[in-house]
Amino acid sequence: MIKLIKITKSFNSQKVLDELDLKIDPEKITVIIGQSGGGKSVLLKHMIGLIMPDSGQIIIDGIDITNLNDKKLNEVRKKFGMLFQDAALFDSMTVGENVAFPLNEHTRLSRKKITKIVDDKLNLVGLENVTNKMPSELSGGMRKRAGLARAIALDPKIVLFDEPTTGLDPIMRESIDKLIVATQKRTKATFVVISHDIESSFTIAHKIAMLYQGKIIAVGTPNEIRSSNDSFVKRFIKDLRK
C-alpha cells in the first residue's frame, strides 16, 4: 500500500509538487496522467525514494520512507520493480545478465535456477532469443520489454512504470499496453503507471489520477473520469488529447 501525504518538492525556485496527496490501491493498475514536464517522473521517483520530498510523508506498507537510512531504504526498495522511460538497461551487460542482475544481487539461487527464471521472465514479456544480445541491439519496444522482465525478476509487490509507451509507434504502444495488463493479471502486483497518453490510460487503468500544477486534481475509474461533469477535468482531458 502506497500513501503520499502532503508531498512538496521544489527544484531551485520551481515548485514541482505542491502538498500532493495520493493513495494507491493495492493489486490494481493506477495510471497517473499529466502533461509533459508536469512532474510525473518526479512523483514516481518519490515513491521509491530516488527523490526525497522537501516536506510530507511517503508511506509504503506502513513505513514512512522519508527518514530511513540507506540500509532500511534498500530493504523497502526490494518490494519494488521499476521500468524507466528508456528502460535503463545496463549497456555493459547482455539482456540476460540484466535480467539476472537483481537475482544475483539479492538471492542465493544457483546459476541454473537463475537462468531458468531469466528465461521465464523474458518469455513472459514476449521476448525470445535475446538473452545473449546487448541492449543496443534491441529496438525501443524490445528494450522496454527487457526492462520489464528485469523489473519483475524478483516478483516485486509493486511495479512502477515511467511512460512505458512514450516514443513507440501505435502498434507497439498497443502491444505494451496489453503486456502491462496481462502481466498485472498474472502477478497480482500493484502497478503504478505514469503517462501523458489519455487513450491508453483509459484502456489499462483500474484507477486514473490526474496530476496538475503539482496536485492530484481528480481520482476515479476510467468511466468516472470519462463521464465527469467537472469542467476542470474535461478541459484537462481535452488538453491532453491535443
Partner: protein
C-alpha cells in the same frame, strides 16, 4: 573594486565548493568499503582497465621522457665536465617526479575521462537510478572498485615508467652520447635511494585516488544528456590535472 573581487573570486569559491563535494564522495566511498558484498570481480575488471590497458602508453611516454632528460642534462652537465651525473639525474627525476606525474596525467586522459564518460552516460540514461531501485549502491558498485583499482595500479604503472625512463636515459647517454656505462650506473646506485622510489610510488597512489575520484564524481553528477556527458568528461580531465599538480607540490614539500 568589489565588483572585480566578486568576478575574480567566484571561480575560486566554486573550486573550493567542488573540492568539498568531492571529499564528501570520498568519505561516503570509504564508508561503503567495509560493508559486504565485496565485489572482487568488479575490482579486478577495473584493475585490468586501469592498469593492463595503460601499459602501452606508459611505456612510450616513460621511455621518451627518460631519453629527452638524458639529452638535455648531457648538454648542460658537459659544460663543467659532469656527464657522469646524467644517469643519476635521469633516475632521480624519473622516480621522484616525472614517473608519477606523467603516468598520472596519461592515465587521467585515458582512464579518468573514460570513468567520467561511462558513469555520466549511466547517469543521464537513468542506469544509476536503476541500480538504486534494485537496492544496489552505485557508490559501492561503481565508484569504489574504480578508486581501489586506480590506487593499486598507478604505483605499478609508475614503476614501469621509472624503469623504462632509466633504460631510455641509458640508451641515449651510453649508446648515443658515449657516456661511460660503468660511471653512468655507479652514480645511479650511489645517489638514488630506495626512499626516492618509494615516495614516488606514494605520490602515484595518491594521484590514482585523485583521478578516479574526480572522474567518478564528474560522472555520477552529470546532468543534461549527451552534451552533459561531454562536459563532464572534459571537466574531469582538467580538474584532475590541476589537482595532481597542486597536490604534487605539497606531497613533495612534505616527503622530501
Amino acid at each position: 573594486m568589489t565588483r572585480f573581487l566578486e568576478f575574480a573570486g567566484r571561480p575560486f569559491v566554486f573550486f573550493i565548493e567542488e573540492c568539498g563535494s568531492i571529499l564528501l564522495l570520498l568519505l561516503s566511498t570509504i564508508s561503503w568499503m567495509f560493508r559486504p558484498p565485496f565485489r572482487f570481480r568488479v575490482i579486478f575488471k577495473q584493475m585490468e582497465f586501469v592498469g593492463v590497458n595503460s601499459v602501452g602508453v606508459v611505456l612510450i611516454t616513460g621511455a621518451f621522457t627518460g631519453m629527452v632528460l638524458a639529452l638535455q642534462t648531457y648538454h648542460g652537465f658537459r659544460m663543467f665536465g659532469g656527464e657522469g651525473l646524467v644517469g643519476a639525474t635521469v633516475a632521480l627525476s624519473m622516480t621522484r617526479e616525472l614517473g608519477p606525474v606523467f603516468t598520472a596525467l596519461m592515465v587521467t586522459g585515458r582512464v579518468g575521462s573514460a570513468m567520467a564518460a561511462e558513469l555520466g552516460t549511466m547517469k543521464v540514461t537513468e542506469q544509476i537510478d536503476a541500480l538504486n531501485t534494485m537496492s544496489v549502491s552505485p557508490i559501492q558498485y561503481l565508484v569504489m572498485p574504480r578508486i581501489i583499482a586506480a590506487i593499486l595500479m598507478l604505483p605499478v604503472l609508475t614503476i614501469i615508467s621509472d624503469f623504462v625512463g632509466i633504460v631510455g636515459g641509458y640508451f641515449v647517454g651510453v649508446n648515443l652520447l658515449k657516456i661511460n656505462s660503468g660511471i653512468f650506473m655507479a652514480k645511479i646506485i650511489d645517489i638514488v635511494e630506495l626512499d626516492d622510489i618509494f615516495n614516488g610510488l606514494v605520490k602515484a597512489a595518491f594521484f590514482g585516488l585523485i583521478l578516479s575520484l574526480v572522474g567518478c564524481y564528474k560522472g555520477i553528477y552529470t546532468i543534461g544528456g549527451a552534451e552533459g556527458v561531454g562536459r563532464a568528461t572534459t571537466q574531469s580531465v582538467v580538474l584532475s590535472s590541476i589537482l595532481i599538480f597542486i597536490s604534487d607540490y605539497f606531497l613533495t614539500a612534505v616527503m622530501f
